[in-house]
């Protein structure tokens, strides 16, 4: 409960003063805590131990119309200790950052592992990792969001909201989510890794209401969360792409005010847009839309823990079973090349080392339409017959245990020169979709349904009018088999998911998905309009 009328995003930790966002825990202190935990774990009988000393800083500036609803700084600091004892995992975490407290937590972790060992039929096997000694890494940012004065952030959002209200919006909400993860990882393999990770997201939604009919429509912002600093909000001209119908899309920076004005106009248009006729259409999907489809239909099904059944009780399993990997299953058309990449600059998932101390990399998942790889952590690599982890272990907090999380998963651009206008020019009867909408997929990642933010009818190579009530239903392999064209690298942009949920206890992670505008032929579109009488 947030007493006193201010609702706090308490899931993210405790609230702190702005000036504390600029500081960090001394590395020597973190090393001393890690050593105390590792020594205690080994003395208690652990064969392996890793320690994550975390300080997770978040800032939220939340506004609606002409009001600042909330400015919140949160911090969550503590130590998470994972051990292997008698072949089983144990984990304990504490926010008491003293050597005595972490030693006690390490002993608890060993006790938990030993309690569970008798039911363990197969002992945990870890892919080897060579210790890297004491190293550090920081997200390459130009402007640390945490050091930008609150007033500048408030002024920015108030300017955005005023522009929308002046343009005729009935409502607007705009938010800044700023994240800094100060993560220290140490393990009995001999690594002491200090990383400083930064992320930013600037979502907004504009609502238009027709009071007479009671109809309302929402147009979300076209930004993407990014692994960047405050420079993302500079709105540089070079990062803008103007579509065939004048829609402006954004790449490595975002012009929030410009998008708010456009959103106001488009939200109003949506109130009277033509309701789509259900049927088969060729879809032209903008990167800021397609990213979510990649996320759900490729990113999640190719997580090895899902494939094996470790997520069966929550997120589900996967249709992309091990036999399909061995047979190089035809996942999509030969134009489809999809890579996993934990190093991509500006992406949400970029780090130098994962939360198991594994050096990150880029690798193939789908090559020429064929399934060639999964995403695996240290304790899964041997199941895939590999001798190394893919470096995609992550925990969203010091208090949660790390596990396999999705890397940035991206569709490679087409090799031949093709603009969005070229692509639309070749479509006879289609729909151009931009922005994220509703999304839902089954527990094995076969049957999915996606909406969007903006929909435009394409007739005989031309965009004719906006549409509404559009959603498409797909079966994953058939959808990717219908991929017939991909725009070239000049159109490549990243979409992001800031709060991707997985695991029990549920954890979030942030991940990017890059692509260029892509065409899919003959996709089933339904009409979502209903009447409540």
């Amino acid at each position: 409960m947030g007493v006193g009328g201010i609702i706090l995003p308490s899931m993210f930790g405790k609230v702190i003063a702005a000036e504390e966002l600029n500081s960090a825990i001394d590395v020597a202190v973190k090393k001393a805590l890690a050593d105390a935990a590792m020594n205690a774990a080994k003395s208690a009988g652990a064969s392996y131990c890793d320690v994550r000393v975390g300080r997770y800083l978040r800032q939220f500036v939340i506004t609606r119309e002409r009001n600042v609803e909330n400015v919140v700084n949160t911090e969550s600091s503590g130590v998470g200790i994972r051990v292997l004892a008698d072949g089983a995992w144990g984990f304990a975490a504490t926010n008491a950052m003293t050597t005595d407290a972490v030693a006690k937590a390490a002993q608890q972790a060993v006790a938990i592992a030993k309690a569970n060992a008798p039911t363990q039929t197969a002992p945990v096997q870890l892919a080897p990792v060579k210790g890297v000694g004491e190293v550090s890494w920081r997200t390459p940012i130009a402007k640390n969001s945490m050091t930008v004065p609150i007033k500048d952030k408030v002024d920015l959002l108030m300017g955005v909201n005023a522009a929308a209200m002046d343009a005729g919006a009935d409502f607007i909400s705009s938010i800044l989510f700023l994240v800094n993860e100060q993560k220290y990882f140490a393990s009995t393999d001999g690594s002491y890794i200090d990383q400083d990770v930064h992320r930013i997201w600037a979502p907004m939604e504009v609502t238009a209401v027709d009071k007479k009919t009671g109809k309302f429509r929402v147009r979300d912002g076209l930004s993407a969360p990014m692994g960047l600093g405050f420079e993302y909000l500079d709105g540089r001209a070079a990062d803008k792409t103007v579509g065939p119908n004048g829609i402006i899309s954004y790449g490595m920076s975002y012009d929030m005010k410009e998008d708010a004005i456009a959103a106001t106009k488009q939200a109003r248009e949506k109130l009277t847009a033509k309701s789509v006729k259900p049927g088969k259409y060729d879809l032209v999907l903008d990167p800021n839309h397609l990213g979510l489809t990649i996320h759900e239909t490729v990113g999640h099904p190719l997580e090895l823990d899902r494939v094996l059944g470790y997520e069966a009780n929550y997120a589900g399993t996967s249709f992309a079973t091990m036999d399909k990997l061995k047979a190089n299953f035809q996942y999509g058309s030969d134009k489809v090349n999809i890579v996993a990449d934990k190093t991509q600059p500006g992406s949400l998932g970029a780090v130098a080392y994962d939360d198991e101390g594994v050096k990150t990399k880029k690798w193939d998942l789908i090559r020429n339409g064929k399934l060639v790889g999964y995403q695996a952590t240290r304790d899964q690599a041997h199941i895939e017959g590999k001798s190394e982890s893919d470096g995609c272990s992550y925990a969203d907090s010091w208090s949660n245990v790390q596990f396999q999380r999705m890397a940035n998963i991206s569709l490679e651009p087409g090799k031949e020169k093709m603009s969005v206008a070229d692509m639309i020019g070749n479509v006879e009867d289609g729909i151009y979709i931009l922005g994220r909408g509703s999304f839902s997929i089954d527990q094995q990642r076969y049957n999915a349904q996606f909406g969007g933010t903006l929909f435009y009818e394409i007739k005989n190579g031309k965009i004719t009018q906006p549409l509404e009530d559009v959603a498409y239903q797909i079966r994953t392999p058939e959808f990717w088999a219908a991929c017939s064209a991909i725009c070239d690298s000049s159109d490549y942009r990243m979409f992001g998911s800031f709060f991707d949920g997985k695991g029990q206890p549920s954890q979030v992670s942030a991940v990017s998905h890059g692509s260029s505008t892509t065409r899919f032929d003959g996709i089933n579109v339904i009409n979502t309009a209903r009447s409540l009488g």
């Binding site: 409960m1 972790a109 309690a115 029990q504 409540l532």
Partner: protein
């Protein structure tokens, strides 16, 4: 640190409030100890224990608010956190919607705490996992499950003399059982504050039966069907709908509860006449804290009566603006029903579909609360009062508002694990006409 007693909490909070020089001050302490065990492929995969405590201080100068927190409790640290909040308040912009701290209240304790749950150990958790796994192994089935238990406390005090303290516990168990060939899947879940109500030996049998019975599923054409939604299946849609029961959004014209021409639908027949919802912090099975997010006391309150909307959630600000008396916002969702079990509802059904569970529910159109999602872990065809055979999973596109206008019969409400809503929820199994399935899924 974990759990403070009421006296310990009061001591810290009283000191903090007295230190503040601002116009008003509210301080809150929260702490929890949570343990869990997770298993899959008939093996324990992870197990853990987390312990955390926080103090949050909120002060206000006029309509300027500052908030700061700390997790150290010596006098110097308490002084520091108060001054830090005061500094932030002086820098903050005025919030025109600021509401002063609540006056002194009397809170009647609700039954959110159980000694049995607070006493759970790693060995207990390991035994729950082992019991689930052993039963499944004996029948060549594969278990994947999760047990999470925890005890927590919340205490707050403000400069107007208000004070609240309460302890809570929770036990949440879910298990998915699959056949070895991956063609059958079943599920069970229990959510309770009282561990003595949890019998893993009984629960696991439900998931095992569903798994075995759901193999060899046949395909049925998508379309409109009479369905029996088990409580967990219905709760997915109903819980989602209650995320949109806010008065402000309705009054602003951007909710399914907005009225054409302005205003909200309080007093209107929105659902079928069999539909009744209420909220009650003292419900013995699914209680909530006796105060809401703003410290306003909750009370038992009808939300929907005979299908008419009778109350919406008002923040204090919106209640004041609309000239309404502030009432604590809902802390749980309780739906009334009859006395029949799911099996009894099946026996009275000529032709229909039984749904164990709904999954991955998302909003398609907020105007009508059109939701999409899928069935999962046991979907069956019913004919002449009997389950005839398992069927492949469906995707649905359905609005809970439309669904609750098509009620044929309601069974006995049960508490189900929270999924699409963060509140405790009790829902009956329900038989509904014309539920809309729009496509088939190959997923098991």
């Amino acid at each position: 640190m974990g759990i403070f007693t009421e006296a310990q909490a009061k001591d810290v909070l009283t000191k903090v409030v007295a230190m503040s020089k601002a116009d008003e001050c509210t301080a809150q302490l929260t702490g929890q100890i949570q343990g869990n065990v997770r298993f899959a492929l008939n093996n324990v995969s992870t197990a853990g224990l987390t312990d955390d405590t926080d103090l949050q201080v909120q002060v206000a100068y006029g309509k300027r608010v500052g908030i700061a927190t700390i997790n150290q409790f010596d006098d110097a640290s308490l002084e520091r956190v108060v001054r830090r909040a005061e500094e932030l308040a002086k820098l903050a912009p005025e919030n025109p919607e600021f509401m002063p701290a609540v006056d002194k209240q009397v809170y009647k304790t609700s039954p959110t705490f159980s000694e049995a749950t607070a006493a759970i150990t790693p060995v207990y958790r390991a035994k729950v996992a082992a019991t689930s796994i052993t039963a499944c192994k004996a029948q060549n089935l594969i278990a994947a499950g999760f047990l999470e238990d925890g005890q927590s406390f919340v205490a707050f005090a403000n400069s107007k003399g208000n004070f609240g303290y309460q302890r809570s516990t929770v036990l949440d168990y879910t298990c998915t059982v699959r056949t070895e060939d991956g063609r059958g899947s079943g599920w069970v879940g229990t959510d309770t504050q009282d561990a003595t109500r949890f019998k893993v030996e009984d629960d696991i049998q439900i998931a095992m039966r569903k798994a075995s019975a759901s193999s060899e599923a046949r395909a049925l054409e998508p379309g409109k069907y009479t369905v029996i939604l088990e409580p967990m299946a219905a709760a997915g849609l109903i819980g989602f709908m209650f995320n949109f029961f806010g008065a402000r959004e309705a009054d602003e014209g951007r909710s399914f509860l907005s009225k054409a021409g302005g205003g909200n639908k309080i007093g209107q027949q929105v659902f079928g006449p069999q539909v009744n919802f209420y909220t009650d912090p003292w419900d013995p099975v699914a209680p909530s804290l006796p105060w809401d997010e703003e410290g306003v006391p909750r009370k038992r309150m009808d939300l929907v009566k005979d299908g008419k909307v009778v109350a919406l959630d008002y923040s204090r600000y919106w209640a004041q603006k609309q000239g309404k008396a502030p009432v604590g916002q809902m802390g749980n969702i309780l739906m009334t029903g009859g006395t029949k079990s799911t099996a009894e509802l099946v026996r009275s059904t000529q032709r229909g579909v039984l749904v164990t569970r709904t999954w991955y529910i998302r909003m398609v159109d907020p105007q009508t609360v059109l939701l999409t999602g899928l069935t999962r872990d046991g979907t069956f065809y019913i004919e002449n009062g009997q389950i005839k055979y398992p069927i492949k999973n469906f995707r649905f596109n359905e609005s809970p508002v439309i669904m609750l206008n098509n009620v044929e019969e309601l069974g006995k409400p049960v508490r189900v694990p929270p999924d699409e809503v963060s509140m405790n929820i009790m829902v009956p199994p329900m038989k509904l006409r014309d539920f809309t399935f729009t496509s088939l899924s190959d997923a098991v």
